[in-house]
Amino acid sequence: MADKQILERVIKVVANVLGLDPEEIEPQANFVFDLGAESSQSVELVMAFEAEFDVDMDQEQALAVQTVEGAADFIATQLNS
């Protein structure tokens, strides 16, 4: 499980990009199925994560991530490497 702080920051980014209340975003939420992310927003999310965490992410790998907590785990891995 990723650092709680990373998760909170991920939720904040997601809320900002998708126009949602952060309180409504569960860690297990699927970006598309639960949060309604459209394909252009998925790309926006990747860019926003990169900006927030100051990391470069492989776009294909990043877009394959399905859930909020999955994104936090992925980012944690990027940061550790």
Binding site: N30, V32, F33, G36, E38
Partner: protein, 728 residues
């Protein structure tokens, strides 16, 4: 835009209709899962299409975290929808379709159309995903269309379903269209719109994870709104079921429903791997011709031909014969039409004396009252009407083609109206009428009048001739003599004793001959010699001339290896040929690989044909007949049928050969024993049907002697292979 409407759609038909297919075509409520608010995207446009088509039922957009889409209240999940949902349309990305489908199962949705891509077409991971969604649906009895498809359209006035991302709802008509290519669908819809052709149902099959063309054929067979079914197919997996469904539907004498098809690609006969002539030839387009011929499917070479024929079959009576009358106001196009018609196999009708008299009375002296009738360039509607009245009344006319070219005095619209009126007046004659108003701009209003009255129109008379001939072909197939499969009294046990004792691979020639002999084929006696003395002794017993043939499991292509010597007329010749053959062969194979040298009487010369069987993974055993000899793969004059063949099919196969005249006797030659060829075909069909392990069989050549003198098998190769799970 109003909120979701309550249902007044036609209820699901009870009884024979499969509930899942009924939910696909006549749902009373639809949920679209994955809708977005972004115009110009599939997830948005598909929902708007449903609204724009004025679907006669309730529509619910499932769009997580959206309040409404296009003015309709949206739901986060399909399970949040308070009412029942018959049909789900999934436009979520492929990766989340499993979650969506599971919720559809929970909701009790009866059927789903999965528009989304990302399944088998993207590779192994996508294929695995497709298997999973199929399993999810199957567990609850939900039927699926797709995935990876354009969608489904039903134009029935009490349904008005456009669950697709096509640009617009097509006009209503009596033609149903099924396609495996989504891209082709949109092109066809636009093409048809330009020709004022309407549809009853329109289906993009996509990956066919569940519902396939056979399920839809059966459904459309019972659909009263559909008169003709069109298919574009690439991959066929249930070959025999397709043939049976097509035969049942197109051949139903009480309510025949023609099926027209374009088949893209080649069959999966694995021509590259086949060693036999039959196998190499079996991957060609002729195989599909044979399959469609047997099934009554009208095979079309192009979309144009398909729709040209469909219009005629859907909106005009089925022609009783191939005698056509042509009425034209221009000589040149009349000649073109005549040439095209005759080339196709149609015949210019020979008018009765009454018809000629009526034409002479009604038309000016300069008009041509023979067929094609030329009413001359300054003709107006009265001359067209008089000509049509005469030909409709003539019992020797089966079909009518009207040609018009736009001269300055040609009152196109009035002529079009006169044609429509006469069509109506003579409807009881059940003679199809087609038109060719040649041109584009000036004739357009006249064409529209014809189309409003469901009279097929073709830009060129040649296209009319193609369509008329296809209709004749179908009519003849429908009314063909229906014969049974004819079998012979054979020694099945003897053949089985040979086949069952041999592992997969080629039979050596004596084994193959024994199998044929057991099934009553005309084989020549033989002996196997293991020395030149034995060969000479055998030759003396048979009588000269004789033939020597190597027998070896290692040598399949005997001629190429110089393992065959013909026409040996004396003991010395036999001895010399035997020694030379052995010496030559030992350069290529070991002595222990040569079982012996076969000695047999030389078969007298005759015409050579090839008979063969190839086991296709989709259709099962295919029987082939062709002009034989070593050039068979160059000439490719071959014809195919799926085993078992019926009695009448054998004769048809012979007549289909382009070079049949060679067998019928050319330039004073005696006709060949064609009944002998037909019997050999039927026996071969029976053999293949009895022994599924036969993967390839070539009789090349079967030497055919003059009529009454029979045939002889000159060479045979049989390869056995156990059937895999998909074979037959």
């Amino acid at each position: 835009m109003s909120a979701s409407t309550t249902s007044s759609a036609a209820s699901l038909s009870p009884g024979s209709l499969d509930a899942g297919l009924a939910a696909i075509f006549r749902p009373t409520s639809i949920a679209v899962l994955g809708v977005t608010n972004t115009p110009g995207t599939v997830p948005h446009d598909i929902f708007v299409n449903l609204l724009d088509s004025r679907f006669n039922g309730a529509v619910y957009p499932v769009a997580p975290r959206k309040k409404h889409i296009a003015g309709v209240r949206a739901y986060n999940y399909v399970v949040d929808i308070p009412d029942d949902v018959d049909l789900a349309v999934l436009v979520f990305p492929g990766a989340v379709c499993e979650m969506a489908l599971k919720q559809c199962v929970e909701k009790g949705v009866k059927a789903a159309i999965i528009i989304s891509a990302g399944f088998r077409e993207v590779g192994e991971a996508g294929l695995a995903r497709e298997h999973r969604i199929k399993a999810i649906a199957a567990e609850s009895g939900m039927r699926l269309i797709g995935p990876n498809c354009l969608g489904v359209i039903n134009t029935e006035s009490d349904v008005r379903l456009n669950a697709s991302f096509a640009r617009a709802m097509p006009a209503t008509g009596k033609i149903a269209f099924l396609s495996q290519s989504g891209a082709l669908c949109t092109a066809v819809l636009d093409y048809a719109a330009g020709k004022n052709i309407g549809f009853s149902k329109f289906v993009s099959l996509g990956n066919k994870a569940d519902v396939d063309e056979i399920d839809l054929l059966r459904f459309l067979a019972a659909d009263p709104e559909t008169a003709v079914i069109l298919m574009y197919l690439e991959e066929i997996t249930r070959g025999r079921e397709l043939m049976k469904a097509a035969r049942d539907i197109a051949g139903d004498m009480s309510a025949p429903k023609p099926i027209l098809a374009i088949k893209g690609g080649r069959t999966a006969a694995g021509a590259a791997a086949a060693l036999s002539h039959t196998g190499a030839l079996a991957a060609s387009a002729e195989v599909c011709d044979g399959v469609f011929e047997q099934s009554g499917i009208v095979r079309c070479a192009s979309i144009e031909e398909m729709f040209n024929t469909a219009q005629l079959l859907a909106y005009q009576p089925l022609a009783r014969g191939h005698r056509i009358a042509i009425v034209t106001n221009a000589g040149g196009p009349g000649v073109m039409a005549t040439d095209a018609a005759v080339n196709q196999g149609l015949q210019l009708a020979r008018f009765s004396t009454e018809t000629v008299a009526a034409l002479k009375k009604a038309l000016p002296a300069a008009a041509n009252t023979k067929n094609p009738i030329d009413v001359i360039g300054d003709a107006r509607e009265d001359r067209y009407a008089a000509a049509l009245e005469a030909v409709f009344a003539d019992d020797d006319v089966d079909q009518v083609l009207v040609i018009l070219t736009p001269q300055s005095m040609t009152n196109i619209n009035a002529i079009a109206r006169a044609i429509c009126e006469l069509r109506e007046r003579f409807a009881s004659t059940r003679k199809p009428l087609v038109c060719s108003f040649m041109g584009s701009r000036d004739v357009a209003p006249g064409i529209e009048i014809l189309q409003e009255h469901m009279i097929p129109h073709y830009l060129l008379p040649e296209w009319a001739a193609d369509a008329m001939w296809n209709a004749v072909w179908y009519g003849r197939w429908l009314t063909r003599e229906r014969t049974e499969v004819e079998t012979y009294a054979v020694d099945r046990e003897k053949a089985a004793s040979v086949i069952d004792a041999v592992p997969d691979g080629y039979l050596i020639e004596p084994q193959a001959l024994d199998v044929l002999d057991a099934y009553g084929f005309p084989v020549v006696d033989y002996e196997i010699a293991t020395s030149s003395d034995e060969a000479v002794a055998a030759a003396e017993r048979f009588g000269y001339p004789v033939v020597l043939r190597v027998v070896s499991p290692k040598i399949v292509h005997k001629f190429e290896m110089k393992g065959v010597v013909l026409n040996l007329g004396s003991a010395d010749e036999v001895r010399a040929a035997y020694d030379a053959m052995r010496a030559n062969l030992l350069v290529h194979v070991r002595s222990e690989d040569i079982t012996g040298i076969m000695v047999r009487r030389m078969i007298p010369a005759g015409k050579e044909v090839i008979l063969g069987v190839n086991r296709d993974p989709v259709f099962g055993h295919m029987l082939m007949l062709g002009l034989g000899g070593i050039y068979v793969e160059a000439f490719k004059d071959v014809t195919f049928r799926i085993v078992p063949i019926r009695r009448s099919a054998a004769g048809k196969m012979v007549r289909e050969l382009r070079t049949v005249s060679v067998l019928e006797g050319l330039r004073g030659e005696e006709p060949s024993d064609i009944p002998g060829i037909e019997e050999a075909l039927k026996r071969l069909s029976q053999l293949a049907d009895d022994f599924p392990r036969i993967a390839e069989l070539d009789i090349n050549p079967l030497i055919v002697h003059p009529r009454g003198e029979g045939c002889h098998v000159a060479d045979v190769r049989i390869r056995l292979e156990a059937m895999g799970p998909r074979s037959r």
